[in-house]
Structure formats: C-alpha cells, structure tokens
Point group: C2
Chain length 139, copies 2
DNA sequence: CAAACAGTTTAGAATATTTCTAATCTGTTG
DNA sequence: CAACAGATTAGAAATATTCTAAACTGTTTG
C-alpha cells in the first residue's frame, strides 16, 4: 500500500548492517528498520526507545545507545548537538545543517547547498577540520 | 604590572551587576571578577567552581549555575552547546563563532567577520531566527 | 547440525551534569 | 537598624548516559 516495507521486510536492513560489519541481530534490525525505512529522521535515544516499545520490539535503553553509537561510528547516521543534556541522532548523512526550534525541541534539515560558510580561518596548530555545523536557532 | 585588576578591585563589577539589575552579592562579585576581568573566557560550571575554590572563594555549585544563568539571561555572557552533557559559558557576547577541539574539549573564538553564512532559507512557520551558531569541529 | 566462541543484549548500578528544595543568610530600603 | 525580598547553601532529586557482569544469540567450525 504505502511503501514496500512489508514486501522485503529485512533484506535491505540485513545488507546495510553487514556492509558496515555489524552482525544483523534482532534488535539492530528492528532499530535500523525504524530509523532508515522512513526518510530522514531526528531522534533522541529515548524517542527511539519509545517507538520500539510501541512497535512491540523489546529493547533496552542501553542497547539503543549501543546501536546509535555503532550506527554513527559506521557512518550510517550522525549525532547533532543542539541542546546540552540531550543528544539527537540524524539519519541524514549528507552534507547539511539544521534549524532548531528552541521551543519545541524539533530539528529540521537545511540542505547543504542552501547555506554557504565562507572564509573559514585556519584551524589552530596541526588540527584539521572534522566538520562544520551550522545551527539556526528559531523560536 | 599586568592589568588594573588590583587598583579598582570591585567597582567595575558592582556597576556591571547593578546595570543589569542583579544585586552585587559576595558570590556574584567574585564570580563576575573571575569571568570578566581577564578577556574572553570559555568555561564550564565545574571549571568556574574549581577556580573559585582555588581562589579561596567559597561558593556552592548550585550558586555557580544560578549565576551563570542569570549572567546569560542578562546578556553578560552566552551559552555555547558543542558537546552533549556539558555546557560551556562564553564571556564574549559579540557576534562570533567557535572552533571546538573534539580531543581536548577546548573552545576558541572565531570573530564574526571571519565567517559569513549566506543564503539562509526562510525559517519555518511564524518562527524567527534567534541566532546562528557555527561550530567548526577540529581534531 | 551441534558445539563453541565471539559478539550482543540486558537489567540494574554507577556516573555526570544540572536542577530543585527548604532552611538559612544577607543586601537594601525605609 | 529592623524588616523583607532576594540570594545562597547543602543535600536530595532529576535527567541523560555509560558501565558491568551475567545471560543470550549469530556465526563458524568440525
């Protein structure tokens, strides 16, 4: 009906996990499905946990954190820091930035080509630039 | 010798606090002195607490948090979010951005005129832009 | 296909940071 | 200088995240 989510239930996800060297376990597959099967998502560990529970998947919060970090380390997603005391994980790994609604806590993507940061100064010492985050705070 | 910090010990600080409607109490004066008497500073609550203790000023951590938030609300400093689970407070209130050393946790200013963010998309809904943070992560 | 092993998951404890609370204290005002 | 609003405090509480050690499970091997 809507997507092909139900036709090829886990094949994509299994491949995706294998491709980055992660064993496709029940929990990781369920989380990967929630995360990657419906477009770009911005979630906290807690929110993903709630979704998993609501979907009848029994996963501990510790496993959620493990999985989010493993996915992030593997380059399947990235972490966005906008609020101290809360981490957001973003399934969009392309070059892009964010709107952050300070009232509701909602994050929204800004495509990389819609913002340009020019004339960056040299990084200090022998340091090299890992990435540049632009956060547009709205309210 | 170095600065005039010792010549007019508390006058500046008292005025500064009064100007924003904060009662110049012992603790607030000591903290304001530490924060504003030596150029631009980037500190966590914990670091400021340690400095205060080292300088023989007895202040509780709760008071440090109170003061940092009051100073921030009053526009005397601003909060920089670069790392989830740790808040940095910055005494530089001019328009500027930051280098963040992901290895050491050190923050460094990038003057506002050295970076330009162009072609920002419209903020969603009836939202308005509060501020734009650029964080250049180095390692 | 079963045993064995490495990698995973788990609950709960531990840690870290920040906020809250209620009692005490202190600038300021009259 | 008394009175009061506002500030400070220690400790408890809240929140988010990480750690730990035991149980479990995918995968590989014989």
């Amino acid at each position: 009906m809507t997507t092909n989510t139900n036709e090829r239930p886990y094949t994509d996800v299994v491949d995706r996990l294998r491709a980055v060297g992660l064993r496709p376990t029940r929990q990781r597959m369920a989380l990967a499905k929630l995360l990657f099967d419906s477009g770009d998502r911005h979630l906290t560990a807690e929110q993903l946990h709630d979704e998993a529970m609501a979907g009848g998947v029994r996963v501990s919060l510790a496993t959620i954190y493990n999985a989010l970090h493993q996915f992030t380390d593997a380059g399947l997603m990235c972490e966005v820091v906008v609020d101290s005391g809360r981490s957001y994980f973003d399934t969009n790994t392309s070059d892009h930035h964010h709107f952050y609604n300070e009232t509701t806590g909602q994050l929204r993507d800004i495509p990389g080509d819609q913002i340009s940061v020019t004339s960056l100064p040299e990084p200090p010492d022998g340091m090299s630039i890992d990435r540049v985050d632009v956060i547009v705070r709205v309210r």
